[in-house]
Symmetry: C2
Subunit: 206 residues, 2 copies
Amino acid sequence: MKMLPEKTVERLSQYRRALMLCSAKEKQHIYSHELANLLHITPVQVRRDIMLIGYSGTLRKGYAVDELIDLIGKILDSEEGLNVCVVGIGNLGRALVKYFKGKRTRLSIVAAFDNNPEKIGNEYKKVPCYPVDQLSKIVKEEDISIAILTVPRQVAAQVAGTIVDAGIKGIINYAPISINVPDDVYLGEYDMTTSLEKAAYFVKMS
Amino acid sequence: MKMLPEKTVERLSQYRRALMLCSAKEKQHIYSHELANLLHITPVQVRRDIMLIGYSGTLRKGYAVDELIDLIGKILDSEEGLNVCVVGIGNLGRALVKYFKGKRTRLSIVAAFDNNPEKIGNEYKKVPCYPVDQLSKIVKEEDISIAILTVPRQVAAQVAGTIVDAGIKGIINYAPISINVPDDVYLGEYDMTTSLEKAAYFVKMS
DNA sequence: TAGATTGTTAATCGATTAACAATC
DNA sequence: TAGATTGTTAATCGATTAACAATC
């Protein structure tokens, strides 16, 4: 299948989560406007996204919840699953491990890395913590393809280099500085300072 | 001044941080292409953003670092400063407090809220923790205008209601569900599951 | 049938990039 | 002068929304 637009991919992830809540409540069909309300977007956008993934609803009945969940799974998930590591196991790293651990069968956090001797060798939510200099080795052993970077600003660039050299294919960067990666490595940057300053600007201006 | 585009506001926050690092290294001028490299964007975009905020560089010399920092401050920061609270002081809430505390003079985290009795009454990085049912009172007393929401999914909707009722003007939602707020309240939603699933999709497809 | 809903194309909007004039 | 750089308009690109046909 052709690559979907970024924003559609983001919404598919959110549709799935909303749909799984519906499924848990035994709701079997859902209208585009209902799904739209759950995500606070428009019904047209929902229908367009669903059109893009090639699914069809039933007129006057809406979309079959479980079918749509399965289809989104086929699109978003890798058949064999992907392994993820967290680099930097401070508060933010632990929040991520705690949140993701066990949430998805096809996306699992299998290792953490840190340089604090007190943390190395420990497990957090059953995820073992290794020293950063073993990153390359463990990434190969455990076949890890995505790294979540939650280290302090000062070491972010250097650690990012280590991660890229280890052959990681995607990095999610929560460190408060932009990092540099080759073109063939996916990079998502999420900067909490920027989020907060942006909110402050729009609150001030409104 | 007229409202700036969202993306420009985000980049201004990042320009400022990069510029402050330059300033700390006693670098006094910076070219658009240097600033662009630090953020991994194009020089044209840097120049266009700087044009939008009405600043001018010097031909062949670039932009004066400290002047630009000051101007971005005038645009992003409120003169009187804004107060912020964190609602839900788990790992993620603590990560945010630890990271922001003392970072900005015009944007301070002044309170945390939680319902866990072990946390109430404690301070974390000098930020006091109150029970959620005192939110409205404390928000008024401390003149808080922005809330960062880091509570579990199950209670997010309800807590969001409490926050809106207390008169908060901006919410940054890190809870893994979309929340509903009136039109006049700024809402930024940052969903870590979506970030990770998006990365997985593009890694898989690349 | 009338109303509600899906599916899809075309128009619009917002953001980025290309092109280039100005000038040190 | 030639080359490097800023500043700005116009073109392009990507995403959303409006409009509407189809149909249960």
